[in-house]
Symmetry: C2
Subunit: 341 residues, 2 copies
DNA sequence: CTGTTAGCGCTTTCAC
DNA sequence: GTGAAAGCGCTAACAG
């Protein structure tokens, strides 16, 4: 019997009742631990259910209850590195209870997203989390959705929605403050695509921290792609133009890896001659570099968990508020900024 | 109205019927494109549905139809790199139609898996895809599941189940054949944890290819972790012990990155002096190295798609067979084995 | 304590 | 063409 086709229809509550010799209602009560059932009867019902390997039909239940114990996760870019931890966090928060997650990947396509949204609504999900692929604001799903919606990572462009997004401004500030506290004063910035809100927010934070210390960025921020290649090329240019830099704040761990490569090629010792800090704390990159990479971690899993929690709260009727909330990030210090003893 | 609590209950079919001035039955027929409805009536019903933004209740439908248009995706390691493409492939295959995916991550915990399985069954999913985190066989869910089950990546340990897994043997063979076709004859192998079936299968394939060419591996396969660190250390040992190697087959792209690093440090030119081939074709690693990394791609997205297709077929009553099927992998050639002109 | 009854929202005969 | 009625599997009053 490949891939299991048991001919027999799955057992229903009435099958259980019949086998136990009681009414459906009594069977229901027994199975749901209601206290107005004789112990002996409950035993009999439980045994019957066991024997038939009875599994209650969640849909029938949902039909009555009005809630399905189901939430929709509407992502736009499953492949993206940032989606996964958020998704895990959400799954975690839900997984504990009776909730299951519908995963829908719109592949960044608005039409598909609308289609998925419709499907979720028709499945009567109790709530929806929308996970974007960047921290740039995305179009709101609108205010007409009959269930609570929370936006994670990419905030909604409608301030009436509730959005949770990592605090890139503070991230940029923390990175610089760390470098300064390591005694660096000639700090440059290499980052990715200037069109990303993330890039700009981090720069703003970085500049604020420099300002506060009476410092300035060495040269202008260098923009291009979020890749190792760019990190290498940019570092080469930087070190030639400004040989006196003593630290580089990188917009991503990938860029930082490239910077480390070039520093090595040019005989600059990290962190002694040059401190390097990355962003995202992509473990597999950050812990396998030489030296290991100090980085800013956006706590995405926690962000996902919080989004889920908010959806829960809203389902329970709690007012979860609105607007875009910037969640704390954290600094993870490794050998690329602090010499190991 | 944050997070959208529209006070009014979502519209039901009977609301639509009332507004259109017809019976529920007629409204149902009109909305489902049944042909025994007058054109004018249908128009009226459709307009009413539109006006109330009526969304049919999939659960009520499912109760009647006996199928839910829903499949369960039971993964054991969401974080893993291999899960995602499979998951995407499956979502793709399903997404086209009316099917939605329930995502459950068991975090590699059998208890949690059982719990999730129960939840899926009670939600009356039409089928289940089980995605493992390695290519080592995993415990079967058993033959008692009332819906079709397909195992992806990690095969089931029960041959009565249907499993789809990448062909690591052929992958190993292809890697070596490619190196040989590049004129290499002194080939070594650096790989990860010997306890992984993947590691052993690839070695077996590699040895077969070497045999066929009358060659032998240089030294024994070097086992440890699947990390860049190990790749660097192993390469250093290898090049010292066997300075005459002209190619290294690596068990993962991460290891290969490490090997490239060391080769560079020791002044070995890649690919001229030393050809390097990785495994997994992890794009972000493979395309950002110097030179770019030739690698074996397991076509995971396609594997996911196929798994979904099989589940579909089984739902439609097609016999999908049983046993473990090894799906083709492919060689992606880049600069680490072939000099760029 | 237990069983009867009435639905949840929808589709589907089967009369009219 | 259209509508009344019978459920899908289950829970929640309410009687007994």
């Amino acid at each position: 019997m490949a891939a299991n086709e048991t001919g027999s229809r799955t057992a229903t509550l009435s099958d259980v009742a019949r086998l136990a010799g009681v009414s459906i209602a009594t069977a229901s009560k027994a199975l749901n631990d209601r206290d107005d059932v004789a112990v002996a009867t409950r035993q009999r019902v439980l045994r019957a259910a066991e024997e038939l390997s009875f599994t209650p039909n969640a849909m029938a239940k949902g039909l009555l209850a009005g809630r399905t114990g189901t939430v929709g996760l509407l992502t736009s870019d499953l492949e993206g590195r940032f989606m996964i931890p958020i998704l895990m966090g959400a799954e975690d928060a839900f997984g504990a209870g009776q909730v299951n997650v519908f995963l829908c990947d719109a592949r960044g396509d608005a039409i598909r997203e609308q289609h998925h949204l419709k499907a979720l609504l028709s499945r009567r999900v109790d709530g929806i989390i929308v996970v974007g692929r960047q921290t740039d604001p995305r179009p709101s799903l609108g205010q007409e959705i009959p269930v609570p919606v929370v936006y994670a990572y990419a905030p909604s462009d409608d301030p009436r929605d509730l959005s949770l997004t990592p605090d890139n401004y503070v991230g940029g500030r923390m990175a610089i403050e760390h470098l300064i506290s390591c005694g660096r004063t000639r700090i440059a910035h290499i980052t990715g695509d200037p069109a990303y809100a993330a890039a700009q927010d981090r720069i703003a934070g970085a500049r604020a921290a420099l300002d506060a210390a009476g410092l300035e960025l060495v040269g202008e921020p260098m923009f291009s792609e979020w890749t190792e290649h760019w990190g290498r090329d940019a570092a080469a240019m930087l070190l030639q133009r400004h040989p006196d830099v003593d630290a580089v704040f990188c917009g991503s761990d990938q860029i930082a890896r490239g910077v480390l490569d070039t520093a090595r090629d040019l005989g600059r010792r990290v962190p002694d001659d040059l401190a390097v800090i990355g962003y995202d704390n992509w473990e597999v990159l950050a812990t396998n570099s030489r030296p290991q990479l100090t980085s800013i971690d956006a706590n995405l899993q926690q962000l996902g968990r919080q989004a889920a929690q908010r959806v829960f709260d809203a389902i329970d009727g709690v007012d979860i508020g609105q607007g875009t909330h910037h969640l704390p990030v954290r600094l993870v210090i490794r050998g690329s900024t602090i010499p190991r003893r």
